[in-house]
Every structure is written in structure tokens, then in C-alpha cells.
């Protein structure tokens, strides 16, 4: 037989075929498993509606006040009612601001004027993280980003809050 016709030997052909079939079978087994494992990453997060926090806009002052409200949380197969908290106030321009109380350092609970030593600031008791009234982290304290801000709307004079969103780096 001529050289040109022998480009793929019988042995090579069988090797390729077996490797191909084997690879296909392995992929067929692994693909569903991997897809299952990464499902939470690829799932589009179902953003819930904004919730009525039972706070009249008229009751919002220029002093941050703590607002608690309940939402129905769906965690896979587990549904539960969880309490969410925000610090809400009106700034100089009468703009309503709602900050998440979760410290951007390690997730502790931040309180408005939580320390007598730092008036007019949000204070985190865990590692002394501080934020100015506009949510910006005080440089030199542990947190590296401003407090998250809740999506919000006003309807019929009541405040509605949604997800807490990150603000830009300070």
C-alpha cells in the first residue's frame, strides 16, 4: 500500500475512536453534575418587589431612624419570614436615603451614633468602623466601602424599600 493512503493506521483509528467515545461518555456524565453544581451562580436572581415598610414619608426626619420590616425570603426550598432593617432619613435636598446597617468591613450591625465618642456618624461596635451621615466610610477605619443603599420608592405617602445596592468606593 502506498504511504499516502496509510495516513491513519488501523491502531490510530481505533485509538481515536475509543478516546472520542470515552470522552463523549465522560462528558455526558460530568456535564449534568457540573451544571447542577453551578446552578445558583447562573440563576437570574429573582428580585422581589419593593416592600412597604410601614413608614409614612412625613415621619422621616433629617435624623437617621431605624426601620424594621418583614419580607418573605425564599431560600431554595425553604421559605421564611425575615426581618430587614434600614437607617432612613432625609438629606438637605429633601431626598430620602435608606442605608443598610450591614457593616462593609465584616458584616456587623451598624448603628447611627452608636458610640458617644463619634456623634453624627454611623458606628460599628465590632471593630470601630465608622461612616459619615451620607454613608461614606470614614477613612482610616476598617470598612473599605460606603454603606449599601436600599432601592426605594414612595407610593401613597408610604416608603417602599427593596434590595440593598452597593455604592461606589470611597
Amino acid at each position: 500500500m502506498s504511504e499516502k493512503k496509510q495516513q491513519v493506521s488501523r491502531r490510530q483509528f481505533l485509538n481515536y475512536t475509543l478516546t472520542g467515545v470515552g470522552g463523549f461518555m465522560a462528558a455526558g456524565m460530568l456535564a449534568p453534575m457540573l451544571r447542577m453544581a453551578v446552578d445558583p451562580v447562573l440563576k437570574t436572581s429573582s428580585h422581589g418587589d419593593l416592600a412597604n415598610v410601614s413608614l409614612s414619608v412625613d415621619d422621616i426626619t433629617d435624623e437617621p431612624q431605624r426601620v424594621d420590616w418583614k419580607i418573605d425570603q425564599v431560600d431554595g426550598w425553604y421559605e421564611s419570614e425575615v426581618t430587614k432593617t434600614a437607617w432612613v432619613y432625609k438629606d438637605e435636598n429633601d431626598e430620602i436615603l435608606a442605608f443598610s446597617p450591614i457593616c462593609k468591613h465584616l458584616g456587623c450591625f451598624v448603628s447611627w451614633e452608636g458610640s458617644e465618642d463619634f456623634p453624627d456618624e454611623f458606628y460599628c461596635p465590632c471593630h470601630g468602623g465608622r461612616y459619615y451621615k451620607d454613608g461614606t466610610n470614614v477613612p482610616g477605619t476598617p470598612p473599605l466601602a460606603p454603606l449599601d443603599q436600599f432601592e426605594q420608592k414612595v407610593e401613597d405617602g408610604m416608603l417602599f424599600l427593596g434590595e440593598a445596592k452597593e455604592q461606589g468606593e470611597a
Binding site: 425570603q73 431554595g76 426550598w77 425553604y78 458584616g107
Partner: protein, 224 residues
């Protein structure tokens, strides 16, 4: 009787040479604490393995009572800890053994480092060892959540926040570990359980096999 059973098996599959290859090998005098007491530093690797075996056994028995479900996880741990005979001991072994594993592993690493025996031709085994170190830390991290008490929950929250700091893929990595972008809950617990009980031990066995095969292949380095 035992000899007869052994002979019967040996007759058929000739296990004596296999057994000889695994167990019968020379331990050089300079690594034997019976000859030089200071050679106890060579024991840390073996002690790490010994504690890992305890972890595997005690962990296997713990899963007879443990449930990876947020309603029942804490209750099942509380039950096995307070109601089950010797449950406190088995969980204690697993709990304290986890710390002892890390300590022994660290001592073993320090010995290898300061004796400089990670050098050629043993770099590959050093790398395998570093992977084993990460696996053990992963086992510690995932196991910490399983009792589902407050300490476990908040430690995991911090740990996931750290994972989130990874450049570019941080968010995805956190979601992959926690099972949800926001919530540390039902899906986090099942995931951590699966990782703790199946994925990481599987990887650990493979790496330990490689670690030991390499030791046998390359032998123990000469005295300093």
C-alpha cells in the same frame, strides 16, 4: 487459623510481595527516635495522618446522627451531644482533632521547610503537600458551619465575605460556595455538608496517596 486464612488468600493472589512492598521498608537510623531522640520531628507527618484517620472514622460515625438541614442540624448535634452514649466523646474527637490536625500539619510543614528537604527532587511532593494543606483548611472551614449555631453562622459569613474579595470572580465564587448570592441558609448548609463529607475527603485521599507514593519512590533524604 489466621495463618490458614492468610495462606488460603496468599495461595490465590500472592499477597506477600504486595504486603512487603507496602509495609516492609527500611527506616534510616537518623529518622528513628529510638536512636536519636531529636528525630521525633520526623513523626509529625505520620501523626498528621494518624489524626486524619481519627477524623475520618469519627466523622463517619457522626453522620449517623447529623442532619444537614437548617431546621434539624443544631438539634441533631445537640441530641448526639447530650442524649447519645459517648456521642460527646466522638464529637469531641472530631472537634478537637480538627485543630490537632492543623497543628500537626503545620509542625510537619515547618520541619520540611527548615530541613530544606523540599528541594529537588522533592519539590513535587512539597507542592502536593501544600495542596493537602489547603484541603485540610477547607475541611476545617466547611466543617465549622455544620453545627449551625451562631458562631458557625457568623464565622461562615465572614469566610464567605473573604471569598468574595477574590478579584473578578469573587461574587460567583461566593454564590458557588453558599448556593445563594445573598442568603446563608438551607442551600449553604447542604453544600458545605457535601463539600465537607464527599468532595474534600475525596481530593484528600487522592493527594495523600500521591504524597505517600512519592515518599516511597524518592526515599527519605539523608541526615543533615
Amino acid at each position: 487459623m489466621l495463618q490458614k486464612i492468610y495462606d488460603w488468600i496468599d495461595d490465590r493472589i500472592d499477597i506477600t510481595p504486595i504486603w512487603r512492598d507496602i509495609a516492609d521498608h527500611e527506616v534510616p537510623e537518623h529518622v528513628n527516635p529510638a536512636h536519636h531522640f531529636s528525630a521525633f520531628v520526623y513523626c509529625f507527618g505520620g501523626l498528621t495522618f494518624f489524626v486524619v484517620v481519627i477524623q475520618i472514622l469519627s466523622g463517619m460515625f457522626l453522620t449517623m446522627y447529623y442532619v444537614p438541614d437548617i431546621e434539624n442540624a443544631w438539634k441533631s448535634v445537640y441530641y448526639l451531644q447530650t442524649e447519645v452514649a459517648h456521642g460527646q466523646i466522638v464529637r469531641g474527637m472530631h472537634h478537637w482533632g480538627a485543630s490537632v490536625t492543623v497543628v500537626m500539619l503545620l509542625l510537619h510543614t515547618l520541619r520540611v521547610f527548615f530541613q530544606g528537604v523540599y528541594k529537588k527532587p522533592r519539590e513535587l511532593n512539597w507542592m502536593v503537600g501544600v495542596l493537602i494543606f489547603f484541603i485540610i483548611l477547607g475541611l476545617g472551614f466547611t466543617g465549622y458551619l455544620l453545627p449551625w449555631d451562631n458562631k458557625a453562622f457568623f464565622a461562615t459569613q465572614v469566610g464567605l465575605d473573604i471569598a468574595q474579595q477574590v478579584p473578578f470572580i469573587g461574587e460567583q465564587l461566593k454564590t458557588l460556595l453558599a448556593g445563594d448570592p445573598e442568603i446563608i441558609g438551607a442551600q449553604t448548609l447542604t453544600r458545605f455538608f457535601a463539600i465537607h463529607v464527599f468532595f474534600l475527603p475525596g481530593a484528600l485521599f487522592a493527594l495523600l496517596a500521591a504524597h505517600f507514593i512519592l515518599i516511597r519512590k524518592q526515599g527519605i533524604s539523608g541526615p543533615l
